[in-house]
């Protein structure tokens, strides 16, 4: 057939020109009448506007967090770490199948472009509709008509991208950060290889699960032939927030979780515990962070048969208010000595771990049942830190060895990723500095 050739050109052009393509249908454009009725989970998120951050440490972006709005994609740090925690998660780990460095770089550039579009509420490529009838649409379409829903896409790099089976796959082996360690085996770990590891990861968070899933699905599709999906995890309820002024969310055990989490507005704590500094190096990671992901299965049935007092003793807080044992209010300073020696809060507290703090961003999950009629439920733990050797590793060593909670939980999946600094502008791309000056 003879089709006007210019129609084909619009997609790429639009991407080059900016974040929202005029040629590609924008979810926001389709919502021209305001979209207030489609705010969906945003209200339930309980998020206030205060903590949407995308840029420098000192200046929280004044974004509207109440109406499924967009979170800026570009900035000094990647969004999805210190920015306000959304309601829903789709986390995916990928393995790279190409051994061609240029192809990998091309993929990262394509991914970054698509991520910028999707986080702004636009469709990828030439959009989901209106393209050639003979071709499958570039965008899969299930997010059409939905607001950006505060979608953030956070990109990380696993140890195996630097070296796998002794092979320097992409000429970046010598650029692997010391902090990107292979996590040690912790007592009680029962890790499923098919739910662990990965050369790359993308954390998609949004207030609407469909928007998060759409993002992962489309990125995977763009990558087929160069990457494969290794595993992925859906999360349905945040278990920690970075917005302390909002109500602290509860985890599947029914307890408030993340009361003492690092706040997105606490620049000093972020600097001290989350962002990689110039002194830490390597240079390409400055402004980035390290992510530990753990799939923690909870034996919720036996937890539910545990008396209230025992539950509270195990956690170290009361179940209603969330106050530390012996205190009145949730945010009262805990008296660790008032708790049992093996209470979870006591063991995890910075004072018990040489001041170690991590920024938690986990989600509850329930992946149906396990074949024995038990809910396959738990916590998909996500934690960001400046160095896992000062963060997750010492904390988990303590928890894994003596925490009574271990009777009710089991770590069944694990991943560690170096999360590079933010994408600065439309010419920048995920991992650029890693690949820039090597080989």
């Amino acid at each position: 057939m003879t089709t006007d050739g210019t129609q084909q050109g619009t997609a790429d052009d639009a991407v080059d020109e900016g974040t929202v393509s005029s040629g590609a249908p924008s979810r926001r454009a389709l919502l021209g009448w305001g979209g207030a009725g489609l705010a969906l989970g945003a209200v339930a998120a309980g998020g206030t506007a205060a903590a949407l951050r995308t840029g420098s440490d000192a200046q929280p972006a004044a974004a509207d967090a109440t109406a499924g709005s967009a979170v800026a994609f570009h900035g000094a740090h990647q969004a999805g770490i210190a920015t306000a925690v959304q309601d829903r998660l789709h986390f995916a780990a990928f393995d790279v199948t190409t051994d061609d460095r240029d192809e990998l770089i091309a993929l990262l550039k394509e991914w970054t472009k698509a991520a910028a579009l999707m986080t702004s509420g636009a469709a990828v490529g030439g959009g989901a509709v209106g393209g050639l009838a003979e071709a499958p649409p570039d965008d899969t379409g299930e997010a059409l008509g939905l607001p950006p829903s505060r979608l953030t896409l956070t990109f990380g790099i696993g140890p195996t991208l630097f070296e796998k089976d002794g092979k320097d796959r992409f000429g970046i082996k010598d650029r692997r950060p010391d902090a990107l360690i292979d996590l040690p085996q912790f007592p009680g770990d029962n890790l499923d290889k098919t739910r662990s590891g990965g050369d790359l990861c993308i954390q998609a968070c949004a207030d609407d699960p469909q928007v998060a899933v759409h993002a992962i699905r489309n990125l995977a599709r763009i990558g087929f032939g160069r990457i494969v999906m290794r595993w992925s995890q859906l999360g349905f309820g945040k278990t920690s927030s970075t917005t302390p002024e909002a109500q602290t969310p509860r985890n599947m055990m029914g307890f408030k979780d993340g009361t003492r989490n690092i706040a997105g507005t606490d620049a000093a704590a972020l600097k001290k515990h989350v962002w990689v500094s110039e002194k830490d190096g390597p240079e390409w990671m400055v402004g980035g962070s390290y992510l530990v992901a753990r799939r923690i299965r909870m034996h919720i049935e036996i937890w539910d048969r545990t008396s209230l007092k025992e539950q509270e003793d195990i956690i170290g807080r009361d179940k209603g208010e969330g106050a530390p044992i012996g205190k009145k209010r949730e945010r009262d300073e805990p008296n660790l000595k008032a708790m049992l020696p093996d209470a979870h809060v006591r063991l995890a507290h910075p004072d018990s771990n040489g001041g170690a703090r991590i920024l938690r961003r986990g989600y509850s999950f329930t992946d149906g049942t396990d074949g024995l009629g038990r809910l396959d439920a738990g916590l998909f733990f996500l934690a960001y830190q400046r160095d896992v050797q000062d963060g997750f590793v010492p904390i988990q060593k303590r928890l894994a060895s003596i925490d009574t909670l271990n009777e009710y939980i089991q770590h069944v999946g694990s991943g560690i990723f170096a999360v590079p600094p933010g994408v600065r502008d439309k010419n920048d791309w995920w991992g650029r500095e890693l690949f820039a000056r090597s080989a």
């Binding site: 057939m1 089709t3 084909q8 009838a133 003979e134 071709a135 499958p136 494969v228």
Partner: protein
């Protein structure tokens, strides 16, 4: 074949009936149709008005406006209600444009307010000489001709192999029948989308138990597969089914030359073959008793590759990057499959680990994603 296939069959049947067409529908145009030379179709809840009822054969554009209150659809029918092209879901107040390459002859345009019934019809005439109306790249005509030859060869070569299988079944020789089973299916698997385009043959020869409709008798390869591997007994009915299989395959062989093949159906056929691999073979569903899935897998890939290779000269001109990627991925999947070779066939699929099945699945995805773009690359320059 797929367990649930009625929609696929319908879709292919539509594609296959496009005698007059190397047809296509262009982008929705929000500015509204019209334009020079287009046949304007004004659809309402009670009427289907055309700006002209006679137009030259060739590339014809229909500018459709829905002025009614119901969602409508517009069909262009040739004789015998053969669908030339159609567009569904045209909302009230919206416009769209449909294009088709139409040979000289009589047609009907139907508007279907509410998207049901036979619609409100208008007779139209495409004037001019018949055959010359559709202009296509001669390279594509050559590709279609070569593919048609390939399809016929596959059918021709299948018959004696299937006969050998059928004879073994009728002799009650389970071992010989098992040996002859998978190879008897290769030609079929290579060209399955063409066979499926007839609609009636595939459900007779290649249906699986779970795909049967209520009251449908189970016939064909997979019924015999179950007898050989699962019940391990050949019944009197099975012997009759062996004859029936040959009869149906002869019908296929006779009709395959008349199948409607054009560059679009070729490219989409390649994609459908990989869809089959992805949903039926990688999962081990297709050959659940014999576990010869990898033989089918290989045949599906070969058939897809044949269609691709024939379309490649045109695709290469229109989308060189796509061709490069497809070459790479066809090579990769071939190498991956080679790892599972055993004797002159493949290992039994029930011995392939879950991790290896994932590798195969990932390999198919890597190939199927670019092949889904082949149809566009043969009809449009990028």
């Amino acid at each position: 074949m797929r367990a649930l296939r009625s929609s696929t069959v319908a879709a292919i049947a539509v594609a296959a009936t496009l005698t007059a067409v190397a047809g296509c529908a262009e982008k929705n145009d929000s500015k509204g149709g019209g334009g020079k030379g287009a046949v304007e179709v004004t659809a309402s809840d009670t009427a289907c008005e055309l700006s002209k009822k006679e137009f030259p054969a060739g590339h014809v554009r229909f500018a459709v406006k829905n002025k009614g209150s119901k969602v409508t659809e517009v069909y262009i029918y040739a004789a015998g209600d053969r669908i030339v092209t159609e567009r569904e879901n045209i909302g009230p107040g919206t416009s769209t444009e449909i294009t088709a390459e139409i040979k000289a002859g009589s047609y009907e345009v139907a508007c279907k307010p509410g998207m049901k019934g036979d619609g409100i019809r208008q007779k139209v005439t495409a004037t001019g000489k018949g055959g010359a109306a559709v202009k296509r790249d001669p390279k594509l005509d050559a590709a279609v001709a070569a593919y048609r030859k390939y399809v016929q060869e596959q059918a021709d070569e299948t018959l004696p192999l299937a006969q050998k299988f059928a004879d073994a079944v009728k002799d009650g020789d389970v071992d010989a029948a098992k040996k002859a089973y998978a190879v008897s299916r290769i030609g079929w698997e290579r060209t399955e989308p063409v066979a499926e385009s007839f609609g009636d043959i595939d459900p007779k020869v290649d249906i699986r138990e779970d795909g049967l409709k209520k009251g449908q008798k189970w016939t064909g390869w997979h019924k015999l597969e179950k007898s050989l591997w699962e019940t391990k007994k050949i019944s009197g009915d099975d012997e009759k089914l062996a004859d029936k299989l040959i009869e149906d395959l002869k019908d296929w062989k006779k009709r395959v030359g008349t199948a409607e093949i054009n560059p679009t159906t070729m490219a989409n056929g390649a994609k459908e073959l990989l869809d089959e691999v992805y949903t039926g073979k990688v999962t081990g569903e297709e050959e659940r008793y014999s576990h010869t899935d990898l033989v089918d897998f290989k045949a599906n890939v070969e058939g897809a590759q044949k269609a691709y290779e024939l379309l490649k000269p045109v695709a290469k001109k229109n989308d060189p990057a796509l061709v490069k990627e497809l070459d790479r991925q066809f090579t990769a999947i071939g190498e991956l499959l080679d790892e599972y070779r055993e004797g002159d066939g493949f290992v039994s699929y029930d011995t392939v680990s879950k991790a290896d099945q994932k590798k195969l699945s990932d390999g198919v995805s890597a190939l199927a994603e670019p092949i889904s773009k082949l149809a566009a690359a043969v009809v449009t320059a990028k």
